[in-house]
């Protein structure tokens, strides 16, 4: 086949200019096409999209010639892993429950201790009946 002439190129450019835009294809359809898993009929729509989007065509052609996985830093991996938060699992719930129980225990103990000390202090504030010390009539001291 001889090299395309300028006239042929001009015709093609004119046709390209007149083409209506197409919505981008579904990513999974595109991947199935790249893996050559589509039937001829299924391929038609994808090929139409590829013909009208050079970047998309480039992506599919490049995907068919995979490069070795790039070395990647641990920081990038950790950052991406952080996108999904750790769940509040049963073990963690159990540890929170034990902490909560311990707190309740401390509060109750503290309350009881405080109550008993406070109660004794209240007793000291009561007026002392001297008669009970003297065992009878206070006037008897005279």
């Amino acid at each position: 086949m001889t090299a395309p002439s300028d006239r042929d190129r001009a015709l093609w450019q004119r046709y390209r200019r007149d083409q209506p835009a197409l919505p981008p294809p579904d990513m999974l359809d595109l991947a199935a096409y790249a893996d050559r898993r589509l039937t001829e009929a299924q391929s038609d729509q994808i090929e139409r999209s590829l013909a009208r989007d050079p970047a998309l065509l480039e992506a599919v052609l490049a995907t068919r010639q995979p490069e070795p996985a790039a070395p990647i830093s641990l920081a990038i991996i950790r950052r991406a892993q952080g996108l999904v938060p750790a769940p509040v699992g049963p073990r963690r719930l159990a540890s929170w429950a034990s902490i909560a129980a311990a707190l309740v225990l401390v509060c109750v103990s503290g309350f009881q201790a405080g109550y008993s000390v406070g109660g004794r202090a209240n007793d000291l504030n009561q007026p002392i009946e001297l008669a009970s010390w003297t065992g009878g009539d206070a006037d008897g001291l005279d």
Partner: protein
Amino acid sequence: MADGFEQSKLASGDKPAWDRFVARFAGVVQSAIQATLRRAGRDTGDAADLSQDVFTRLCRNDFHLIRHYDPARASVSTWLSLVARSVTLDALRRRQPRTSALDDAPEAALAVPPNEGNQPIRLPPGLLSPRQELILTMLYDRDMDPADIAAELHIDPQTVRSQHHKALTKLRAHYGDTPP
């Protein structure tokens, strides 16, 4: 579970499965991003941020992309690679300046095209088949060799030549051009 891809666990937001998935496929994602940036003549310094964008897209809408992945239709590597390339292309398109200085534009770009009647664009449906469009795109826009096109499309090089010829005949007939 295809290729170490725990789809149901990932779709339910399982943290250990997500961590394993990221560790297993981050290299594939990174490689696709870097290749796309290099092809576009861009610096690969943004690859780390774009990698995060890819994984963010996979998490988006309650793991919509992951839930709709079908291992029977495409391999995980191909699918992930295309998602990564798509995210990168989107980012490159967003960064393209929408305007340029008037002085930077070549004179031809500023020329007023001849009046073609201001008619709405009307291409007969199916003027060229999808396959013919793709072959012409590869030949004229990518300057690919017919043998390479044939290899990509799993067809005979002679079929590429005949489809090219038929397509041009249709275009000449439609636009009123005669072959040289």
